[in-house]
Structures are given as structure tokens and as C-alpha cells.
Symmetry: C2
Subunit: 352 residues, 2 copies
């Protein structure tokens, strides 16, 4: 239905080659011819078909983006960065979320490959054991991982040093006087980075001579933070005075849950997140967190991929700097143990 290059050519009384040359500035065409062709293009509302072009050039100027979920703004931020960079270089994005489902991962990548995307940017469940990535290698389709951990196979990744960051989180909390640390994390099976953050956190705690932090693995997708924390803060004794959470969304939920349990953040319990979501700076208390440059990671991954596509630059793993944002949700350890809060009304129903 839409006008084709042949329609334009015949209306302008030239050959398709001339039209193509004008449209793509890929050759010289005399001014008067150009004007005639231009007029024809406008008269017909000609819009060159990317499909035809893709077929003949065997590249699509499109990228596939595969992330676990859009519900976590941290991925949305990265996609925003990818989008910016891609747009700036005139690439189009094919997009999908896998909901942390490996089968979906596979299906999606198959679809993207059928569409002949020029490259992919993805976050997978486990880069060291990923059929999807193996497939991409076999097919020779370039890709860059984001958020995933630097991995055994040397797969190109844009990330932050999650282990170091986890360690720094522990150090920061220790510095505030905390000794009984804890961590709340989503399922490690779905997130190699949460695992790395935990490792770093444990290392940091041990190095500081703290008792091994308690690690609470919770269902992130369908979360009831209050239920998860109640056993911890319901009983007298050794509950952590500071909690490190594997991401900001979780941290926000933990702050909320502690509040509902009658505990004050940070006076009774300190909470530190991971991601650096913008909203964290707006909350009260503001959220202490490890900031990773999500948007920038998206940008960097895309830039690298596009460079690779237009030169033969090899893809590499890049570690971007993270930083500690010491928000109000992390404060000095209380002198009196938080366990004395045991009698607060929030716990009157504890035995039910």
C-alpha cells in the first residue's frame, strides 16, 4: 500500500538507483534531478521501507534488549540509557522482559534472532551457564551483558564491582557502630549480582570481626517483608541492628516493614539498599544505598555494542564505578540494644 521506490522513480522520471542515491546521500545527483525526485517523494509520502533495506543490506539497525523485569526501576533506568544511546545513533530497539524465566529467555532470543537484530543487550539469570548466550556465540551475533557478574567465559559485560560494593556496605555500617549485621536478599538463583553482593558483604563483616551476618532470602516478586522480618525482630535478643538489602526496592519495603513492626529507622535499625534509585533520595528517611550508574551502564553497553558493529572493535568487560550514598536510613548504632523494644505495642500480637 505505501509508495515504493519504484513509484517515486517513475513519477520523477528517473531510475530507482537515482532515488536511492538521493535518499541515502550515497552518490551524486544533479540539483534539478534532486528537486524533481524530492517533489515526487513528498507527493507520494514515500517512506523507505526498512524491511526492503534490511533484506538487501543484511543488517537491520536494530538491537534486542532482554531484561528480567521492568517492574524494578533499576532495569527501567538501564533501558532508558540504552534507548538514549540507540536513538542517538539511529538504531531501533526490540524489547522484552523475561520475568526471570529461562524458557522465556530462550524464546525471546529466538525471536530476536529471526528478526536479525544486529546485536543484543541482556541480563541473564546465570551467565556461566546460559544456553542463550551459547547460542549467540554460535551464531556469531554480538552481545553485551549488563548487571551480570564478570564470568568465567569472559563474556562481555558492563557492570559494577558488586563484591567490593557489598564489602563497602558492610564497612560503612560497621563504621556507624553496628556489629550485628544482617542481609535481606531476593532469590540468589535468579541473580548472580545479589550473590556477589552477599559475598562481599560477608567478607566485609568478617574482616571487621563481626559475627557472621544473618542472611534472609526472600521472594522478591511476591514480597511480604513484614512477615519475613517478624520472626527476627519479634524475639528478644540478637536481631541485627543494621540490614543490607540486595536492592533498593527491597530496602524500601524493609524500611516500611520495620516501621510497621514498631521499629524506627535508623534509630532502632539501620537499612542500606543497593541501586541508587532516584526515589530513594525523596523518601523520609532518605535511603542509604550503594549507587550504581544504571543509565550510564545502559549507555555504555550500547555504545560498546554499536562501536563493535561499525568497526571491528572487540567487546570487553567494563566495570563502572559505584558509590556509597549515605542516606538517613543508616545511622549510628543505638547504645541501648534494640531488643528492649520488645515491649512495644507493635508486638502485642506476636504469639498469634
Amino acid at each position: 500500500m505505501p509508495a515504493t521506490i519504484r513509484d517515486v522513480a517513475s513519477l520523477a522520471g528517473v531510475s530507482v538507483a537515482t532515488v536511492s542515491r538521493l535518499v541515502n546521500r550515497s552518490g551524486k545527483v544533479r540539483d534539478d534531478t534532486a528537486a524533481r525526485v524530492q517533489a515526487a517523494i513528498e507527493a507520494l509520502g514515500f517512506r523507505p521501507s526498512a524491511v526492503g533495506r534490511n533484506l538487501s543490506t543484511s543488517q537491520t539497525r536494530s538491537l534486542g534488549v532482554v531484561i528480567p523485569s521492568l517492574t524494578n526501576p533499576v532495569f527501567a533506568d538501564a533501558v532508558a540509557g540504552i534507548n538514549e544511546e540507540a536513538r542517538a545513533r539511529d538504531y531501533t530497539l526490540m524489547f522484552t522482559a523475561t520475568n526471570y524465566d529461562r524458557a522465556e529467555e530462550q524464546g525471546i532470543v529466538d525471536a530476536f534472532l529471526a528478526y536479525r537484530v544486529d546485536g543484543l543487550i541482556l541480563t541473564v539469570a546465570d551467565p556461566d551457564n546460559s544456553p542463550v548466550l551459547d547460542l549467540l556465540e554460535r551464531e556469531g551475533v554480538p552481545y553485551v551483558l549488563i548487571y551480570n557478574q564478570p564470568n568465567a567465559r569472559g563474556r562481555p559485560t558492563v557492570t559494577v564491582d558488586n563484591v567490593a560494593a557489598g564489602r563497602e556496605a558492610a564497612e560503612a555500617l560497621v563504621k556507624l557502630g553496628h556489629r550485628r549485621l544482617g542481609m535481606v536478599a531476593g532469590r540468589f538463583s535468579a541473580s548472580d549480582r545479589a550473590l556477589a553482593r552477599r559475598d562481599g558483604f560477608l567478607t566485609g563483616a568478617r574482616a571487621a570481626g563481626c559475627p557472621d551476618p544473618l542472611v534472609l532470602e526472600v521472594d522478591f516478586v511476591d514480597l511480604n517483608a513484614e512477615e519475613a522480618l517478624r520472626p527476627l525482630y519479634g524475639r528478644r535478643g540478637e536481631a541485627p541492628s543494621a540490614l543490607f538489602c540486595s536492592n533498593d526496592l527491597l530496602a524500601m519495603a524493609v524500611v516500611g516493614a520495620l516501621g510497621r513492626l514498631g521499629l524506627n529507622v535508623p534509630d532502632d535499625v539501620s537499612v542500606m539498599g543497593f541501586d541508587g534509585l532516584a526515589i530513594g533520595t525523596q523518601l523520609h528517611p532518605t535511603l542509604a544505598t550503594i549507587v550504581q550508574p544504571s543509565r550510564e551502564m545502559g549507555r555504555a553497553a550500547t555504545a560498546q555494542l554499536l562501536d563493535r558493529l561499525s568497526g571491528e572493535v572487540p567487546l570487553r568487560t567494563v566495570t563502572l564505578p559505584h558509590s556509597l550514598r549515605l542516606g538517613e536510613s543508616a545511622g549510628p548504632a543505638a547504645k541501648p540494644s534494640p531488643t528492649e523494644l520488645r515491649d512495644s505495642p507493635a508486638f502485642e500480637n506476636e504469639e498469634t
Copy 2:
């Protein structure tokens, strides 16, 4: 580089038509031939090119998605719904965010049209005056709006009744005893729905005999809620005891800012948001809000569009039900006027 249908055909000793028939189940092929072809397909790792197919069938089984921003989870939720529905029906998504920029809007849609997407789902700045939508009409490319307001031109839209919802927000606050209402909103020029919510809110307030609510228009993208609210709550007198915010992200920021200004939510000021973001239920206090079914809106828009693409079902405007979630951030109006808080330490620097 990848194997083509001809490669498969010649390896299997059949014609391309036979391969095509097998791959698409579009005709009969004898069992033994099928087996031979199947073997060839696997041997070569043949993956039919969507590009070739698109060209010959002149449809792409892809949809374009254009939203203002991914940074606001409400859009991310809708995209999640779109993604689910599209995947289920084997469509692929091309995606981009416009950052509320009309020029971007135009550029994006041009690109999507070049790729010959079969249809579009979008949220635009102003549906009544949108060159982009005019273009789509001219080109005869089907589209469905989401979040946008039902509009003069009868453009198909999936949305909620923002006016009614705004009115209900006012009524709910009045019912809690509030009379001095206020609203905090993002730029109305970028959001027809914020405008509708305001209209409903004002109507509701008037109907209840309240003085006209104060409406504060703030820069949502680059927000400093504390600065925006300080003049209101810094001075003695008629500050609203309840604030309705045009979206949840804003509401969360407002709750935080009020806290930093030394005011308690909801004891001193009630806050109600709009969207029903999941995280709102985790916060402390939980966020009172008008819930719109974002994911479902995405699903519904996509379902409608795909139905239209495979039948000749006309596109229509659908209004999905919203609901009031009365979270803890909205509470009964305090008996003593909040203005007595004037002397709290939070305001000691007021004159600086």
C-alpha cells in the same frame, strides 16, 4: 551468513516451496520428505528470516510502543502488560521512550513506520492536537492510546476515568474531615490525564463545599519537593491539611518532603497519590492512592490492537475501572489546626 531456505531445500533435495510449507504448516508434505527437510533444517541451524518473510507477506508481526518515560514505574507496568500479551500472541515489540519531548515523538514514529510495524500503542502529550496521530491516521496504521484521555477525535484509548477518580479522591479526603485541600501535580502541558484528575478533584472539592483547593504545579522530572512545599507549610495559616498528588511517585516525594519539614503524615497532613504502584503498599505509612490497572491497561490495549489486526474489528475507547486504596498516608483531619506546628524546629531556618 545464516542458512537460507534455499540452502535447506538443496540439502534436502526439495524445492523451497516444500520447505516453506513445512516450516509454516501451510500445506501438506509427505512424512518422509518432512523428515528429510527437518534433518536439513537442523543440520544447517536454519532459522527463517523474519526480514524475508516480512517483505513477502507485508506484515511484520511487530508492534511499536511509545511512552513518555520508563522512569515512572506506572509506564513500566503498562509495558509489562503489553509485553505479556504480545508475547502470548507471538508478536514482537519495538520500543522507545520520548522523555515527554514532542520532537522525539515524531522521530520515533517515523522510525517505527519505516520498520513497518503492524500497529502502535502509545501515550502522547496531547491527543487532541497530535501531528503524530494525524500521521498514523493518514497512513492507515492502527494504534491504541493508553493513559491518554478520551478525546475529541474519538481516538481509540484504553484508560480510566480520571475525572471521576479525581473527584473520588476529593470526596475521600473530605470524608476524613479535611476541608482545606491541595493538589500537587506535574506539568499539565505534558499530561492530559493530570489535568483531568485536577478537574475532577476541583469539582469534588466544590461539590463538598470546600474552598477551592490550591494547585501546585511542579517540575516532575527534576523535582525538589521540599522546596516546593516549604512556602506552603512554612507560613502560618491556611496550608492544606490534605494533598492529592497527580501520581504516586510525586506522592512519595511529597510524603518524604513533609517528613523532612517536620510534619507527620497523616497526623498533620494527609497525602493521596494516583497510580497504585506496588511499592506504595510496602511503605510506612502505606500510600493512599487511586489504583489504576496499569498492567491490565497494557494488556487490553494490546489485545484490542491484535484483534483488530487479525479481523476487521473496529478499535474503540475502553475505560477500565479504577479503585480507591485508602492507605495510611491519608487519615482523619487533625482537630487542632496544623498551623500550630509553626513553631516546630523544622522551620527555624524559614527566613533564610
